[in-house]
């Protein structure tokens, strides 16, 4: 069984975001990048399936982006993916979901993947589109927001998370694509021996120009911080002063402290 996992590298979300020169996206300087959280669940699920199926399975991990995404690909290989494909694209962050999906589909088309895993959304862009679009472009079965997964080699039994915590159970025929939600599993930490092993795994680099054939269908016209509508108070300072201030405010503004 041939398995593909798509991962995106995103900035650490506790960072401060400043608009870049074009004012259409964030400035990358000073940001630390890591694997999109949702994609960690996708990698883990693919690796678990590989462990279940043994050598009958092969897991390729793919990422589109500049050189730095090599780090995320190495992490995925250290978690257990067999090989990596880096689609080298310095402008990946500026592309719309339609273009990203087209690049992935043009790589995957004809390569006979039985199962594709993606995250349900990226944390920085959060469009929740790329996975489903890839499935549509490839004409394969698809379901989203998985919190449960089982596969016997012919069908996938997927548990989708719905609002309020109810789940919908869906049976998909392979080939299929699924998008992974938080909590689907517990992603592993790569061990040192596996990190060493990952260094010897194949990492294929493909220039994006070989795969990209479409322009964007949507344009970002501005990128800006939210307008602060909160009339809330902000307190900073040393802890003991803060504690006294907070107690005072709670006494005044709420009925819970007397």
């Amino acid at each position: 069984m041939k398995i593909l996992v798509c991962i995106k590298q995103v900035p650490d979300l506790e960072s401060r975001f400043k608009p870049n020169g074009s004012k259409l996206w964030y400035d990358e300087a000073d940001l630390a990048f890591r694997m999109n959280e949702y994609d960690e669940y996708a990698v883990e699920q693919a690796v678990r399936l590989r462990e279940q199926l043994g050598d009958a399975a092969d897991v390729t991990v793919l990422s589109i982006g500049p050189d730095r995404v090599g780090e995320a690909l190495k992490k995925a290989m250290a978690m257990g993916c067999d090989r990596a494909v880096h689609i080298a694209d310095p402008d990946a962050l500026l592309r719309d979901p339609w273009q990203i999906a087209s690049i992935i589909a043009s790589f995957a088309g004809g390569r006979g993947f039985d199962l594709i895993f993606t995250g349900m959304q990226s944390q920085d862009r959060g469009s929740a589109q790329v996975g489903v679009l890839v499935a549509e472009l490839l004409g394969i079965s698809c379901s989203t927001t998985l919190v449960g997964f089982a596969c016997d080699g012919e069908y996938v039994i997927a548990k989708r998370e719905l609002e309020g915590g109810i789940k919908g159970v869906v049976k998909l025929r392979l080939p299929a694509l699924v998008t992974c939600q938080l909590g689907l599993n517990v992603p592993r930490y790569p061990t040192l021996p596996n990190i060493m092993k990952a260094k010897r795994k194949e990492l294929l680099v493909i220039p994006v120009a070989e795969l990209l054939a479409t322009g964007p269908v949507a344009a970002t016209v501005s990128f800006h911080p939210p307008m602060r509508k909160g009339s809330g108070m902000v307190l900073e300072g040393d802890v003991s002063t803060l504690v006294e201030q907070v107690i005072g405010i709670l006494k005044e503004k709420t009925a819970v402290l007397r």
Partner: protein, 303 residues
């Protein structure tokens, strides 16, 4: 501008959130038609063209057949845009319709601007304005971002059918995990977010909850990691609460968390990041390391 709205129907009921689509269309100034895979006995209260397909036949979740139905209605209506809720139903279906129409999709819209649609990004810390560049477009709107507009009246029904098989089969619903804890009655909730760092710090937050006479709440990652049981989760996939006092410790304020607690009477947030989006709903944001501040506050309350 003509908008085809796609309503939601689950477990035999029309979902109220469907009315948010009318609220959005109203702000957009669009003429509307609605498509629903639902039933005659649960019609939306609104006057207009309803493209109705039978959920008993096409299933409540069958994205392949539902996509066919939506595309058919778009063609009959010559709609300029198709609008979904950004929900488990909408975000699953919208890209399929976008692919079918070769149209741009803008996801999780929170506002309408002259230059385009406003959406959140970077986990709610920043905003983008996005403009579709195709003749028609697909839009999903953030849950709760637009008011529910319930116009009243009854629709004119056009029955929809589609042929075709599907590569996927819906097998049924599984109920949400039993909530062994009812947070909705608590007057005070003190929530542990991922910012607590590790499981061993849960007692720090629980101790503050106790000192304030309240219950322990948790954000999703804290539950997913197994630090706190699911019954404590606050948010769209947990419980919705509105206590007199909500204390968010190390919670960034993602939309799915805010949806479950923003109606609290007083919100105190403790976060080391002054820019964290929780600041938008907090009455009081304390910028501090919770590992120092929380125990100090607990100790002071015990005095």
């Amino acid at each position: 501008m003509k908008a085809l709205l796609v309503g939601e129907y689950r477990e035999g009921n029309l979902l109220d959130t469907t009315y948010e689509l009318f609220g959005f269309a109203d702000q957009l100034g669009a003429e509307t038609a609605l498509l629903l895979v639902g039933s005659d006995s649960r019609l939306p209260a609104w006057v207009g063209t309803l493209y109705l397909a039978d959920a008993a036949q096409y299933g409540e979740y069958n994205p392949e057949l539902h996509t066919q139905l939506v595309l058919e209605a778009v063609a009959r209506e010559s709609a300029d845009c198709v609008v979904f809720l950004h929900s488990s139903y909408g975000w699953d279906l919208a890209p399929r319709v976008a692919a079918g129409l070769k149209a741009a999709q803008v996801s999780e819209i929170i506002g309408i601007r002259e230059e385009g649609f406003e959406v959140g990004c970077c986990n709610g810390k920043m905003r983008r304005t996005v403009k579709p560049a195709t003749p028609s477009c697909v839009l999903t709107i953030q849950a709760g971002a637009f008011p529910q507009l319930q116009p009243g009246g009854s629709p004119t029904i056009i029955r929809m059918e589609t042929a075709g098989s599907s590569s996927l089969e819906f097998m049924g619903y599984e109920p949400a995990e039993a909530k062994e804890l009812n947070l909705t009655r608590a007057e005070v909730i003190v929530t542990a977010g991922r910012g607590i760092g590790k499981k061993e710090n849960v007692p720090l937050i629980a101790a503050l909850a106790k000192a304030l006479g309240g219950e322990l709440g948790a954000s999703r990652p804290v539950v997913d990691a197994g630090w706190v049981p699911h019954g404590h989760q606050v948010g769209t996939t947990g419980q919705s609460v509105s206590p007199k006092l909500y204390v968010a410790c190390g919670v960034s304020g993602a939309i799915q968390h805010l949806a479950g607690m923003k109606k609290s009477e007083f919100i105190l947030a403790i976060n080391k990041d002054k820019e964290a989006p929780i600041g938008e709903v907090a009455d009081l944001l304390v910028v501090a390391d919770l590992l120092q501040f929380v125990p100090a506050l607990t100790a002071r309350l015990a005095k």
